[in-house]
């Protein structure tokens, strides 16, 4: 039914368009202008909206079309029809040549480069006077005509046909394999590459497409006005074009039409505006355009059309009329006996840090290889190397017997390697089904032309059948038409999984697929991975949930500091003491501090805190108290919500609930205010000012006290910091980047102390530090406790930290599951279970402290 309604609306629009010359003959020129600009704006919408490549150089292609046509016709007396075709081709060719290098740039660098390109083209139009007439312009361009149609009427219909063609072809493109690739690139070139999309190719072609439309518009424009001059095609016109696209809605074809029409009519009206508005003056519209652009970007960043179309509920989105049924997923199969993936000596350096070091592994068909390891062990980097989104510094990677190290990600993907991401990277412009169709990209062949002309219907049906099959396999076929942004986190994971499976990969790389899932979803996931294994797919699984890994894996590889610490079957890994130590850390020689009974009001009080990121809730009703002079640990495995808790307390993310510091409510205050109120955070990864000196850090650490404290007082405090960490005194004038990890951690703590906090939060202060430095930091914590400061330590290294704390809270899935004194927790099997899963810790209750001492003896 709605299909016919669509046709009716389209028919009415076309009839209305055809009738304008008869109904409004006096105002035809404004319509011609709108219809000439519309194709350029549609092209810009494709380029900037759908493909995410914003350009301020579209006027240059408009000008190229106009000038090539004008010069050929008026200087060389060419046939106007032939000249027009040559001019359009010239615009496309220019875009092809310029696009290759320029589209390597991203974001605002791309905008600035295209802007520069526009200025260069304008300079040439002005300077090649012999050809273009320079600033005085190029007159005498013969107009096109066809039989009785000439002048405004001819150009009205010609521009109208061009606009209709631009609308139809662009719409076809958007709904095709080509357009899906563009919309994938818009969100993430990296994710697109892992689905075998070569983004440079698609970006360049859509650039050419936008230039062809602009060039064609230029040809019509130059014939219509028969006189052109450089100023028409300058940067300011590119700005006008971008304004039109943004006002209407940058990723929308109807929006492009709406924006063009609105702004052109507005321009026309402004010419008759009163003088105080600058009416009648040549560039009077720019103030209004500018204000309009600011208002739109600030208050309706998606543009007007998306807002308007919500008001018209009559038309449901297309896609309800699906022709295909779920097909069958066919997985790539090679030789059943040989490895699908092998790596040898695989290494990746980031500056001084070796994230992955000499990793050898093998993944066979129909087997699940799990990679586990504590935070920062290099697991994700390993997946990034195997999927090719990062190039290895050294080493070898083979996929199905062919070497792929150094090969671009899209080519590795086309060999049948698919992956998921730690946080799903779904393409937000595409619905669920289309996201999954992008997964089938590598099985399609249709290019720009076949897609624009819908000549690839049977291929499209095959792609759809395969995408539906993947959705069916994952169990979310009913969500096919949903927008991905409206899905829950768990559902987003499943969509991404379906997308990875849709191509029928031979190797599936999964990065923490279970994190953030509910227990039902997790069970579904386990069943699914088993199913995929039974299809003969090789699976590499990075996962923190040890229960799940033990349940699924055929083989386990344990990474620690980027190196392989252990490998073997789940049972072998369970029995390996060094694995347990890597997870829990080892206890030092300290005796636990005697617990002190606290009374009175707490210094820091967290009450029923709920927080998260967007739709994802991480913290659930977390409550905790810290008294002055007390050290409290927050423990829990990766993803338990520890860092999120720190961010919520210090005001970096929004939260519900209440946080009080000394009876002052600090919930919802900005981080800098929280610091000034006496709560300092030493964050994960330290967040130092890399290019500034040690002394700068300490001076700035006292920034909140700049009005109350004397210079001498601040210097005295700096001296105290240097007494606490003597090594920093020697490094006084050195920049933070040049310090070792341990020194950086000391500086981060010293900097926080400079604000004279009442309460100090330390997030993973021991991560990656040498044992001796760990001792130093632990001593400092003990010392601070003696000075009456309240301290919270978030740590994975439980063994090291428990002896210096009074109490601990254990987080699991964003909830406090355990809280007790350190002495009690040290022997607790509950604690181990929270870290390692019930399975690994088993019933035998290996205590971290005991495990360590046994090793010492052995």
């Amino acid at each position: 039914m709605t299909k016919y309604l669509r046709y009716l609306i389209a028919l009415a629009l076309v009839a209305g368009w055809a009738a304008v010359p008869y109904l409004l003959p006096g105002r035809l020129s404004i319509f011609v202008t709108i219809l000439i600009y519309a194709p350029i704006v549609i092209g810009l919408s494709m380029l900037a909206g759908y493909a995410g490549q914003a350009s301020l150089g579209q006027a240059a292609f408009f000008g190229t079309g106009a000038y090539v046509n004008g010069v050929l016709v008026s200087q060389y007396g060419a046939n106007p029809w032939m000249a027009g075709i040559v001019a359009i081709a010239a615009s496309g060719l220019l875009a092809y040549i310029v696009g290759g290098p320029v589209l390597m740039l991203r974001g605002h660098y791309l905008v600035i480069a295209t802007l520069g390109f526009n200025i260069i083209v304008e300079v040439f139009a002005k300077q090649l006077r012999g050809l273009t007439g320079g600033n005085s312009g190029l007159p005498g361009i013969t107009s096109l005509e066809l039989g009785a149609y000439e002048g405004d009427v001819f150009y009205y219909y010609a521009a109208g046909l061009l606009t209709i063609a631009a609308v139809l072809l662009s719409r076809n493109l958007i709904q095709s394999r080509f357009g899906r690739a563009l919309q994938a690139i818009e969100t993430s070139e990296t994710a697109a590459a892992t689905l075998s999309i070569r983004s440079a190719h698609y970006k360049n072609l859509v650039f050419v497409w936008s230039a062809l439309l602009a060039g064609a518009a230029g040809v019509l424009y130059s014939g219509w006005v028969s006189f052109i001059s450089p100023s028409t095609f300058g940067l300011s016109f590119s700005v006008v074009l971008l304004t039109m696209a943004v006002v209407g809605g940058i990723a929308s074809i109807p929006g492009a039409l709406l924006g063009t029409a609105l702004l052109e009519l507005l321009r026309e009206e402004l010419k008759n505006a009163p003088g105080w508005l600058g009416g009648g003056s040549p560039e009077s519209e720019i103030v209004v355009f500018g204000v309009l652009l600011v208002l739109i970007v600030m208050f309706a960043p998606e543009g007007l059309w998306p807002k308007l179309s919500k008001l018209v509920p009559a038309l449901p989105p297309t896609g309800g009329e699906r022709s295909s049924e779920p097909g069958e997923l066919v997985f790539d199969r090679g030789d059943e006996s040989s490895a699908v993936l092998t790596t040898g000596g695989l290494t990746r350096r980031f500056g001084g840090l070796i994230a992955v070091k000499n990793v050898d592994l093998e993944a066979g068909p129909g087997r699940i290889l799990a990679v586990i390891g504590p935070n920062g062990a290099g697991k994700t980097t390993l997946l990034n190397l195997m999927s090719g989104v990062l190039t290895p510094t050294a080493g070898h990677i083979g996929v199905a017997g062919r070497s792929v190290a150094g090969t671009p990600a899209h080519r590795i993907a086309s060999r049948g390697v698919a992956r998921s991401w730690q946080t799903p990277r779904l393409f937000s412009l595409l619905n669920v089904l289309n996201n999954v169709k992008v997964g089938v990209h590598r099985h399609g062949r249709a290019g720009l032309v076949r897609c624009a002309l819908t000549l690839a219907r049977s291929e499209e049906q095959r792609i759809e059948a395969q995408a539906l099959a993947a959705l069916d396999l994952v169990g979310i076929l009913d969500k096919a038409d949903n927008r991905v942004t409206s899905l829950s986190f768990g559902a987003q994971r499943l969509v991404e999984l379906a997308r990875a499976l849709a191509s029928g990969p031979r190797l599936l790389l999964l990065d923490e697929p279970a994190s953030g899932l509910t227990s039902t979803e997790r069970d579904q996931l386990v069943a699914l991975i088993k199913r995929v294994r039974s299809e003969g797919v090789a699976v590499v699984l990075v996962e923190h949930n040890v229960d799940l890994v033990m349940n699924l894996a055929d083989e386990i590889l344990v990474l620690h500091h980027g190196e392989v610490l252990a490998r073997g079957t789940p049972n072998e890994i369970k029995a390996n003491p060094s694995v347990i130590a890597a997870y829990l850390g080892k206890a030092g020689d300290r005796n636990p501090a005697a617990p002190v009974a606290r009374s009175g009001d707490p210094l820091l009080s967290v009450e029923r805190l709920n927080s998260g990121y967007g739709p994802i809730r991480v913290l659930h009703d977390v409550s905790m108290q810290v008294h002055s002079g007390e050290v409290v640990a927050v423990l829990g495995r990766n993803g338990a919500g520890k860092t999120t808790l720190m961010k919520a307390i210090t005001g970096f993310i929004k939260c519900k609930g209440r946080v009080r510091l000394n009876e002052v409510v600090i919930t919802g205050r900005a981080p800098e205010v929280v610091t000034a109120l006496g709560l300092s955070l030493v964050p994960e990864r330290r967040q130092l000012l890399e290019s500034m000196t040690v002394r700068d850090h300490l001076e700035l650490g006292a920034y909140p006290r700049r009005k109350s404290a004397s210079r001498a007082g601040i210097f005295a405090d700096i001296d105290r910091c240097y007494e606490l960490f003597p090594i920093l005194r020697e490094k006084d004038r050195e920049i933070a980047r040049s310090l070792s990890g341990g020194q950086q951690q000391m500086l981060a703590i010293a900097r926080a102390l400079m604000a004279r906090p009442k309460m100090l939060l330390l997030d993973e202060p021991l991560l990656g530090l040498a044992p001796r430095v760990v001792e130093d930091i632990l001593d400092t914590i003990t010392q601070l406790r003696g000075e009456g400061i309240g301290v919270v330590v978030v740590e994975q290294n439980v063994g090291a930290v428990l002896p210096v704390v009074d109490r601990a809270y254990v987080l699991e899935n964003g909830r406090v599951v355990l809280s007790d004194s350190a002495a009690v927790l040290m022997g607790s099997t509950e604690l181990e279970a929270a870290f390692l899963g019930r399975d690994l810790s088993g019933g035998n209750g290996v205590q971290p402290g005991i495990a360590a001492s046994e090793r010492k003896e052995g």
């Binding site: 290098p101 320029v102 390597m104 740039l105 991203r106 974001g107 605002h108 660098y109 600035i112 802007l115 520069g116 390109f117 200025i119 260069i120 300079v123 040439f124 002005k126 300077q127 090649l128 012999g130 990296t190 590459a193 983004s199 971008l242 003056s281 560039e283 720019i286 103030v287 209004v288 355009f289 500018g290 204000v291 652009l293 600011v294 970007v297 600030m298 960043p301 989104v389 990062l390 190039t391 671009p408 990600a409 899209h410 970096f652 900005a670 981080p671 800098e672 610091t675 955070l681 964050p683 000012l689 890399e690 290019s691 500034m692 850090h697 700035l700 920034y703 909140p704 700049r706 926080a752």
Partner: protein, 315 residues
């Protein structure tokens, strides 16, 4: 036909300058132009590093500074007062721009591209306002000191050029002192280096953004008034001036102040020397050709490290 493509304008003045003399003249001009670019480039680097916004509108502060200085001077104010007033006005408008648009935009989580578009829009608004207030005429200011041009190494240099280079040098020194010796300057640097780290130290980074914009407005206005005696001021002179400053700042990677100054001087020299080879109309093409080439050259290494590295290198 083809020979006519490059219609060389007739050489001006003494046509038979010696090569050496011509060269030193070109270098002197290049340094003067580069000094002006440096003022705008420093402003851009300042706002980019503190707020991550590329401020396309920065040239408008030069325009408004120059034109308002002309108006104040013509209204009878002493030249020095008019100049100071213009600089203060530039700072004020830039600060208001940040407070009214950039800051609310960032609060709402607007992307970098949206904010770039906002600054383009502000460029349009300010240019339009200048058009309404001052029209399309060119305006002049007297040179800051009267007198004959001086000769340095065969180059004839106007006194105003000496003012331009001298004032720019003083500003660079003052900025150096501000950023390396004062707590406020260090706080501003800190918020440019690491926003999270700075907020943890209690530095109000958004107030620092305001300060950065105001400073950049003052720098641009100073640039605007400095060149007016030599080149005349018009309502539409801002955009290109700002973009040239941007080219220089990009050469300095938009992060280092000394490199920005060096980049801007280099651009000034390049433009000036290219005028010896190409008709002067190609000056802008040279500048932006250099910009595009540098941007692409810089994008290449990230590509070698894989698509993820290339995508992340951008932020």
């Amino acid at each position: 036909m083809y020979a006519g493509w490059f219609n060389q304008p007739p050489p001006e003045g003494e046509s038979q300058l010696e090569l050496g003399q011509q060269l030193s003249q070109l270098i002197a001009t290049g340094i003067t132009t580069g000094a002006i670019y440096a003022l705008l480039g420093l402003g851009l680097t300042l706002t980019y590093s503190t707020t991550r916004v590329v401020n396309v509108a920065i040239g408008e502060f030069a325009t408004i500074g120059a034109l308002s200085a002309v108006s104040m001077y013509r209204a009878g104010l002493p030249l020095a007062v008019a100049l100071a007033g213009a600089v203060v006005l530039g700072a004020l408008i830039a600060g208001i721009m940040y407070g009214l648009t950039i800051r609310p935009g960032q609060r709402k989580g607007a992307g970098l591209l949206s904010l770039l578009i906002v600054t383009i829009a502000i460029h349009l608004v300010l240019k339009g306002v200048a058009l309404i207030l001052w029209g399309t005429r060119s305006y002049n200011l007297p040179a800051f000191t009267q007198g004959e041009p001086v000769r340095i190494l065969n180059a004839v240099i106007t006194r105003q050029s000496l003012w331009i280079v001298g004032v720019t040098a003083l500003i660079v020194i003052a900025l150096y002192y501000f950023f390396s010796r004062t707590l406020l300057g260090k706080a501003l640097r800190a918020s440019a280096v690491n926003v999270v780290g700075s907020r943890l130290m209690g530095i109000p980074v958004y107030r620092m953004g305001f300060l950065a914009f105001a400073l950049s407005g003052a720098l641009a206005a100073a640039g605007g008034v400095l060149i007016t005696p030599d080149t005349l001021a018009t309502y539409d002179m801002g955009l290109l001036l700002g973009l040239k400053g941007f080219v220089g700042a990009v050469i300095g990677r938009l992060s280092s102040y000394p490199m920005t100054v060096a980049g801007c001087l280099l651009l000034g020299l390049l433009e000036s020397l290219s005028a010896g080879l190409l008709p002067s109309g190609y000056r802008d093409a040279v500048a932006f050709g250099v910009l595009i080439a540098i941007l692409i050259y810089r994008a290449l290494p990230a590509l070698r490290h894989g698509v993820l590295a290339a995508e992340e290198a951008h932020d």
